[in-house]
């Protein structure tokens, strides 16, 4: 059916990556380049009294920048511009940047960084959600609340009387570090005369552009942002690059020299954003048969010291909190609260892993209370086409969650394993279990977000028939370059090799929006599909191309067009699919154009001698519209599942007074090749009318499922109702001891 789409064509930049030729920011140098370093606050909160530069260093050789040296606004433009580039009078989190230094000698600049002494009068800090809500110290705004809103459907207060069962639970998730293997890095050249150019590791060149516009007195056309090959992002390079680019630019502006700033791992871990920790409380009313009558959900995120992205993380998390279930009465009270930790930020899933963890753990508790199997409870409550979500969005997709559930359970051999494990566990110290999570993930920006972005993407055809993609969407490993080229090649009926996608450079490409929110394929791909159709129409209207043309015809047509009329370009700007309505005031309506739907199943074993948890098998089944590139699509799922496994049982941020105490890869534990099971990935495709060739977004979906599936499996294995991730063996051991469950079997 398709020529290019649906095939695993070679990755566009694959050869460069396997030969070591791919150019990341730390791979390039400029003549006369200085190395930059950041002096950071050692305390969580306080007033800066003095900055001391000890005598024994040649400070006259250094470029030194503080808050006073910022030519424009001292804030990193994002949503509410409350985060400064450099702390002025007060610091509000450990590692907050205060002084920037630059010097040609990378060793000396590090020595100098350690030598600068910040004299800070400490103030009492607020750590964790409970302390923030207690409001004994107000550290942000009037009440520590960065953002709050309520989603309401029906009348949840009226359901408790008639409920056969009322089930309450509290679920917590910890911070998670994105842990891209390439740390954050930027190079800046900057001057009032020539403007600013930034090369760096990033997901969103136009976010960086917007941020520098506020910090420097320059017109937009004098700020140029170029994305280098980027070694992973996962959201961790969504907003933080604006901070680092600003720092590099400030040093370049003051010194008149190119400045490179690349974080070492310890700095990147301690100072940059993490996934928001969360606390979710759910109270559910169900009938005797287990049908949901009402869900009262309180969803709280720890935002760290500044607002940054918390409002939107909260938004996505809250909208996903009620799960893929039909419930007539729902209330979701959501808030993001301030604490004296480095601001939390974007990480794949963006609020949804937190709230979906809670709901999927909770549903297993509900099933237990009602006395039916967890899969049966889901079947009785799944959303169907024509039914409405918590925000009142009527599902128009023809997905059948019951079918996905059945198929996943079969693929995982769920029922026979459940039986076998129950039998085996009676005689074994190693307890085995199996559990699942059913969930959905909305693709694209929430609500009116895509309308607000007004993304533009386009194409330019050259005389030899090559077509260049003009978009600011970044390749960060997920396959942007490849799939966008496939979509264009397919639509134009030309070879994949004829389509090129140059490095995103704000001088050269329009703003197709940030590379986040699982939108690159579905939204930007759609823009390019439309631009390609527009390009074809231009040629056919000029009578240079017939309806049924060949690849060779295409090149000829382009050549003739260009000769006659000049450059051949086609752009498309985002238009919302028809019938999408979102009300920002009441937080109701169509939150997303499309959802991907999934059922994930985890098989675990728990060795009760040590309470070490092993994930032995993993099934990931999802409906995604259209699979553009089978290998890349599976790669997204596998990578997301591995991160989800880390989120569930390995990745623990140890906090000491707002600072990450385990800021080393030795002590922040992500899974190795030995720690991941075989991850079995299956796709179903129900083409989405408004996606390119039917495709929806899938980048974030896979990290939503593993944590609840794994914890459901652990409860299945051990009988222990564990409701917190990361679930460390220490916690499980304590739960085991407390339960004194009859799990100690005599092994004879």
């Amino acid at each position: 059916m398709f020529q290019t789409v649906g095939k695993s064509v070679p990755r566009k930049e694959g050869r460069e990556k396997v030969t070591g030729q791919a150019t990341y920011v730390d791979d390039i140098t400029f003549p006369g380049m200085l190395m930059g370093a950041t002096v950071r606050s050692p305390v969580a909160r306080g007033r800066i009294r003095n900055i001391e530069f000890p005598d024994d260093l040649p400070w006259e050789q250094f470029t030194i920048v503080t808050a006073k040296n910022i030519p424009g606004q001292n804030s990193v433009a994002l949503i509410s511009d409350d985060q400064p580039y450099l702390a002025g009078e007060f610091v509000n989190h450990p590692e907050e940047p205060v002084v920037l230094l630059a010097h040609p000698d990378k060793y000396l600049v590090e020595k100098a960084r350690q030598a600068v002494h910040l004299d800070i009068d400490p103030l009492p800090g607020v750590f964790g959600i409970e302390e923030s809500l207690a409001k004994q110290q107000i550290i942000w705004g009037e009440d520590n609340i960065l953002k709050a809103f309520v989603i309401e459907k029906g009348d949840v207060d009226g359901v408790w009387e008639e409920a056969a069962h009322i089930i309450e639970g509290e679920y917590r998730t910890g911070a998670q570090e994105q842990l891209y293997i390439e740390t954050n890095g930027m190079i800046a050249i900057a001057s009032p005369e020539n403007g600013i150019t930034i090369w760096g590791s990033m997901q969103c060149p136009y976010y960086v552009h917007k941020a520098l516009l506020k910090a420097f007195p320059l017109p937009p056309e004098k700020i140029r942002i170029v994305q280098m090959e980027t070694g992973g992002g996962f959201g961790g390079k969504e907003d933080y690059p604006s901070m680092l680019a600003g720092h590099a630019a400030l040093l370049a502006w003051k010194s008149g020299r190119p400045v490179k700033m690349v974080y070492d791992r310890a700095e990147d871990l301690a100072a940059t954003t993490k996934r928001h920790p969360s606390r979710t409380r759910i109270r559910s009313a169900v009938t005797a048969q287990g049908k949901l009558l009402g869900q009262d959900i309180e969803f709280v995120l720890d935002g760290g010291a500044y607002a940054t992205l918390s409002a939107v993380v909260l938004s996505r998390g809250a909208i996903h909190a009620a799960g893929p279930y039909h419930c007539p009465n729902v209330r979701i009270r959501s808030s993001a609260v301030a604490t004296n930790a480095p601001p939390h930020g974007a990480f794949r899933g963006f609020g949804a892993p937190q709230s979906i963890f809670a709901m999927e753990r909770h549903m297993d508790q509900v099933a237990r209370a009602v006395g039916i199997a967890p899969e049966e409870l889901r079947r009785r409550n799944f959303l169907h086409a024509g039914e409405a979500t918590a925000t009142g969005q009527v599902i128009r997709e023809k997905v059948k969650l019951e079918h996905l559930l059945d198929r996943a359970l079969e693929l995982a051999d769920y029922h026979s394993k459940t039986k076998a494990f129950a039998e085996q566990n009676q005689h074994s110290r190693v307890k085995r279990g199996i559990g699942f999570a059913s969930f959905m993930h909305g693709a694209g920006f929430t609500g009116s977000g895509e309308r607000y972005l007004q993304s533009v993407a386009g194409l330019e055809a050259l005389a030899d028939g090559r077509v260049r993609i003009l978009a600011s969407s970044t390749e960060i490993g997920q396959g942007t370059n490849t799939i966008l080229a496939q979509i264009v090649a397919e639509t134009l009926s030309i070879n994949y090799d004829q389509v090129e996608i140059p490095r995103p450079d704000t001088n050269e490409v329009p703003n197709s929006g940030p590379t986040v929110a699982s939108r690159t394929c579905m939204v930007v791909g759609k823009l390019l599909e439309s631009a390609a159709i527009g390009l074809k129409q231009t040629l056919t209207k000029a009578e240079l191309l017939d309806e049924n043309y060949s690849g060779g015809d295409f090149a000829g047509a382009c050549a003739r067009y260009i000769e006659r009329f000049g450059p051949l370009k086609s752009f498309c700007q985002y238009q919302a699919p028809p019938g999408i309505h979102w009300d920002e005031e009441t937080y109701s309506g169509d939150a997303y154009g499309a959802f991907a739907w999934a059922v994930y199943i985890a098989e675990v074993s728990v060795d009760t001698v040590t309470c070490e948890i092993t994930v032995d098998d993993f099934v990931a089944l999802q409906e995604v519209g259209r699979v553009i590139h089978p290998v890349l699509a599976a790669g997204q799922i596998e990578g997301g599942v591995a991160q989800g496994i880390g989120y569930a049982i390995f990745e623990n941020v140890v906090w000491k007074n707002g600072r990450m105490a385990n800021a080393q890869m030795t002590n922040y534990i992500m899974p190795t090749s030995v720690d991941v099971p075989r991850i079995r990935v299956y796709f179903e495709e129900i083409p989405y009318e408004y996606g390119p060739l039917g495709a929806k977004g899938i980048g974030e979906l896979p990290i939503d499922g593993p944590a609840p599936a794994i914890l459901n499996a652990i409860e299945n294995a051990t009988g222990l109702p564990v409701n917190e991730v990361p679930l460390m063996p220490e916690m499980l051991m304590r739960a085991l001891e407390r339960a004194k469950a009859p799990l100690e079997a005599s092994v004879g």
Binding site: K111, T610, P671, M733
Partner: protein, 287 residues
């Protein structure tokens, strides 16, 4: 990287005499470096207290695994990869082979040395529990007379040991007395590979007709240094192995350990797991 590289001196003399002369001339100033995998991590974190380092890698006498009838000798520079590849080690000292396979991953195992691990003295190091149950001896060289120490006496506290500042480890000697023994080693790490140990228990036992003829038990990560569990061994030796004896041994081992809460784990967990591992080991010895 948190260090001012130009401040550091590294020399790599070609003979052992040159190394020893350097150490004797300025005791406490020079720190020997073997593979460098431990020291370089500290160095890059800005936590290496030594500015002067002397590399041992050019010294041939410190290499090689040799055997006599009664002992196997591991040169100080023996790497974890070499331990794993030695048929002799696999046959007679399997716990050291296993520990070597658990130390970091392949790249670390190719560079890291047994002596380096011992001298670094981390209580969480993987080889020491195995060395302890195998009754290892350490030979130290200096310009003075060589010294022969029981490895079980070598560590005196957290990262302190009996080595003088002018000494290097020459080799580790293992008595070939493991025939007929049951070997046990289990490490509980932060993940299944390339992990720092939270608890590790090594055991070596010879059972004769239901009686414990010989028993060695050693632990890592539950005290300021790797430890032999003498009291637990005393409870078990020459006793008939049954459930009651096992419970007595479990009670004893708790008194021998002093685990802490740290960024990786808790004292409570370490204590519970120590007891569980001992139970697992001793239970496996029951007929």
């Amino acid at each position: 990287m948190r260090v001012y590289v130009p401040d550091y001196t590294l020399e790599a003399p070609g003979t052992v005499d040159q190394v020893l002369r350097l150490l004797a001339r300025e005791p406490g100033v020079w720190r020997p470096m073997a593979g460098g995998t431990d020291l370089m991590v500290l160095f890059e974190a800005g936590q290496l207290p030594y500015r002067n380092l002397v590399g041992l890698w050019r010294i041939p006498e410190l290499r090689g695994i040799t055997a006599s009838e009664t002992h196997v000798t591991l040169g100080a520079l023996t790497t974890y990869t070499q331990i794993q590849r030695s048929e002799l080690m696999r046959a007679e000292f399997p716990l050291l082979v296993r520990a070597a396979s658990w130390t970091g991953a392949v790249a670390t195992q190719n560079r890291g040395t047994l002596a380096g691990n011992i001298a670094n003295g981390s209580p969480a190091a993987d080889s020491p529990p195995a060395l302890l149950v195998y009754d290892a001896d350490i030979v130290l060289l200096s310009e003075r007379d060589p010294r022969w120490l029981r490895y079980s006496h070598f560590h005196t506290g957290y990262k302190t040991n009996l080595m003088e500042p002018d000494e290097i480890i020459s080799h580790i000697s293992l008595p070939r007395t493991t025939a007929g023994c049951v070997h046990y080693l289990r490490k509980v790490g932060t993940r299944k590979a390339q992990a720092i140990s939270k608890v590790a228990l090594a055991g070596l036992a010879k059972i004769n007709d239901g009686t414990i003829e010989r028993i060695r038990i050693a632990l890592g990560s539950v005290a300021p240094m790797p430890i032999r569990c003498h009291q637990t061994e005393a409870v078990l030796v020459d006793r008939e192995l049954d459930r009651a004896t096992i419970e007595e041994a479990k009670a004893a081992i708790v008194t021998e350990i002093s685990p802490i809460d740290d960024i990786r784990s808790t004292a409570e967990y370490r204590t519970r797991v120590t007891v569980n591992l001992l139970d697992e080991f001793l239970t496996s010895l029951l007929p």
